[in-house]
Subunit: 417 residues, 2 copies
């Protein structure tokens, strides 16, 4: 009997988890390693950050998802290093050897060389980020209410979101809705409806991956919600109380970073060519130059599809994960691996209540139909019926009452800085 090949998968996101599942009948002994104990439904992370959903509603324990797949061992830990020559990854210094390796450790946010901005302008990649952001923006209204100075209160009520991609658009629209509707009547000294939400984008238009007419529609929908959209507006400085936008200085005490991503540092430890953002330039079959036994999938992989680079979205990560699994299965069977073919499934971004844009190529939706489409797709793809049910209840509640079910700041508050 042939002994099972050792397959190590780094990362339990869409790429890593879908790869592990696609290997369920392979003669492989799989180890899935993740820093977190859960798979995260990242497309709804902004809703945890904006107090619409509880953290457990968009996360499921990796062990639980994979409990019945007996050829997978889930290991909670951080991969600190990869040694391609020795065919070993290190987890907290411990050696974990492999015959085949899939690196799917994704991306985190990048500040384009301004790492000092990180403390003033948190980004959104993990549940911890989301809970931190939630506490920050909820506390801003509290600080405004507590402030004796009208100027300081106004600074606390100014929110700047940097980056006009889907995450920035979603955060800006939701924050505007919360200020206008959710918090209405709840404060005594401030009027939350006077809050300003600025969405700042360095490029020509927001949602640049969408068609220009949908970008323009998204902008109008945001403006209807009360968001000020600024394009061709590069951020030049961020401090605790100010944001430099071009030559102008805006006073704001809450800045959110939704602008740039940088690939996981594990890409570097492979010793292979990377693109500017640190992503691994993979072969057509997603393997790595010089190492046919190493694959990269998901946001960490740089590869072109039929219409330019494959975008960093969940469907692309799933497709790559499944393709890498198929390539490993082919290798195990002594067959050649096929090139990865990206099937574009469209782009979606939600803006707020009944406001969204959907770009399916020939079909483009905006406003209410786009919003319904977005909603159905996201509920459908959530893992676990319990999560689907709870998310639907939270959304229905938010829809009818404008309430947000998770307006909880965990821990005691401190006086404003």
């Amino acid at each position: 009997m042939q002994s099972a090949a050792r397959v190590v998968i780094v990362g339990g996101g869409f790429a890593g988890l879908w790869a592990a599942r696609a290997l369920r009948r392979a003669p492989a002994d799989i180890t899935l390693i993740d820093r977190c104990n859960h798979h995260l439904f990242q497309p709804l992370l902004y809703q945890v950050a904006t107090a619409g959903l509880a953290a457990p509603s968009i996360a499921a324990p990796l062990r639980h998802i994979l409990r019945a797949q007996r050829n997978v061992t889930v290991r909670l830990g951080e991969v600190t290093d990869i040694d391609p020559a020795g065919r070993v990854v290190r987890v907290h210094g411990e050696r974990c050897p492999y015959d085949y390796l899939l690196v799917a450790s994704g991306v985190s946010h990048a500040y384009f060389g301004h790492e000092e901005w990180a403390r003033h302008a948190p980004g959104l990649k993990t549940l911890a980020d989301a809970l931190h952001m939630r506490a920050r923006f909820l506390s801003a209204f509290e600080h405004a209410e507590n402030s004796d100075s009208a100027d300081v209160a106004r600074d606390w009520l100014t929110f700047v979101i940097v980056g006009g991609g889907p995450t920035g658009v979603e955060l800006a629209g939701t924050l505007a809705e919360i200020a206008r509707h959710t918090l209405k009547r709840e404060f005594r000294r401030i009027d939350p409806r006077t809050a300003r939400v600025l969405l700042v984008e360095a490029g020509e238009r927001i949602l640049p991956a969408f068609s220009p007419d949908l970008s323009a529609s998204a902008r109008r929908q945001l403006e209807r919600l009360g968001v000020t959209v600024r394009t061709r507006a590069p951020v030049t400085a961020i401090s605790a109380t100010r944001v430099g936008i071009g030559a102008e200085v805006v006073r704001a005490r809450t800045v959110i970073w939704a602008a740039g991503v940088a690939a996981s540092s594990l890409g570097r430890s492979l010793g292979v060519p990377l693109d500017r953002a640190g992503r691994v330039l993979v072969h057509p079959d997603l393997s790595v130059p010089g190492h046919p036994e190493i694959f990269v999938a998901g946001d960490l992989a740089a590869i072109n599809g039929p219409h330019g680079p494959v975008p960093g979205v969940a469907p692309a990560a799933k497709q790559m994960g499944m393709h890498a699994a198929a390539a490993i299965r082919a290798r195990l069977a002594g067959q050649p691996s096929a090139p990865f073919r990206y099937r574009h499934q469209g782009l979606l971004a939600t803006i707020g209540r009944m406001a969204a844009v959907v770009d399916l190529g020939r079909v483009r939706l905006r406003g209410l139909p786009a919003w319904w489409f977005w909603l159905l797709v996201h509920v459908y793809f959530l893992i676990g019926y319990r999560n689907r049910l709870v998310v639907l209840i939270d959304w229905a509640d938010a829809y009818w009452t404008y309430r947000r079910g998770a307006r909880i700041i965990v821990g005691a508050t401190r006086p404003p800085p």
Copy 2:
């Protein structure tokens, strides 16, 4: 026109919130101050700690609850000091004057002079405590799975709960169920069913406030779930890897503190007589000796009911809060205030699936009927229909599948200490 009296309420728990609501028609200008932005449904906190419920399911923003009551201002902040002579409380150093004051800042856990135990044996009073405890016990199974030493794995799979009151009983029963059922089949190197759960109580019996036959029943129900119950077993030492129980030393890497409470330090700043636990010895009308304008309610107040001291439970806190509000209304109307009369509504403790004890005085329930009674009461008293619905879904899911909906460790893991 008479100008409104300034009423300051410290604490948005059951006592403070019910007092604020009971003053809704009073000619008063009320400020409710809390360190947290939410009212917490403390009776279900252990379910957040044991991954059964998400934090937002048992908490609601104080501002939201009180939004329509125009004579209340909610202030997020920590009262650092009370000056009864100057009739002022200080919030982060800022002065907040009052004509009437209600102190309802509750209790936190106490280690009986062994404050060094706090880092090894966390307690459970706030949502932050609950999320910390959740991460601790979920990580214990992960550390056991990752360990190369059978001895170390066994230490990680030993859980000691100190204190046989309702919280200790609830935590012990739930942990045993999780180890036996929820995590079954999810690990590859350890068998979670071999986990040991020890409930350690210094006194004669667990649940000492209940009748002796219910204590005995609770013990039997716990033992059926696999919990080892040790009574007359005082804890003498706690370190990262060991617990001293009487003369014996038990190796365990997860210790949970459910043993003692100490009153909020604000009681001391009133300069009036306190009991041994630091609670304020109040007058029969809940006012404070020498200060008819200051009231204390909830867990911080020490007062006797018809059958001994009024217990530190939610119904007692609500009753005291409403009584203090009535006393303030009486003062405002120039009338004398009545003495507080505690109406005992019974004691409930849940143990696990279909296991509970209910002591209503003449009526005593155990097992399945007690569990149903407990469930209905707790869902009924939860604030907000959304929370009720979501909690019911989570419980139904847990009941049918043994799953726990909130098995999420937020943040990255570190290697074991």
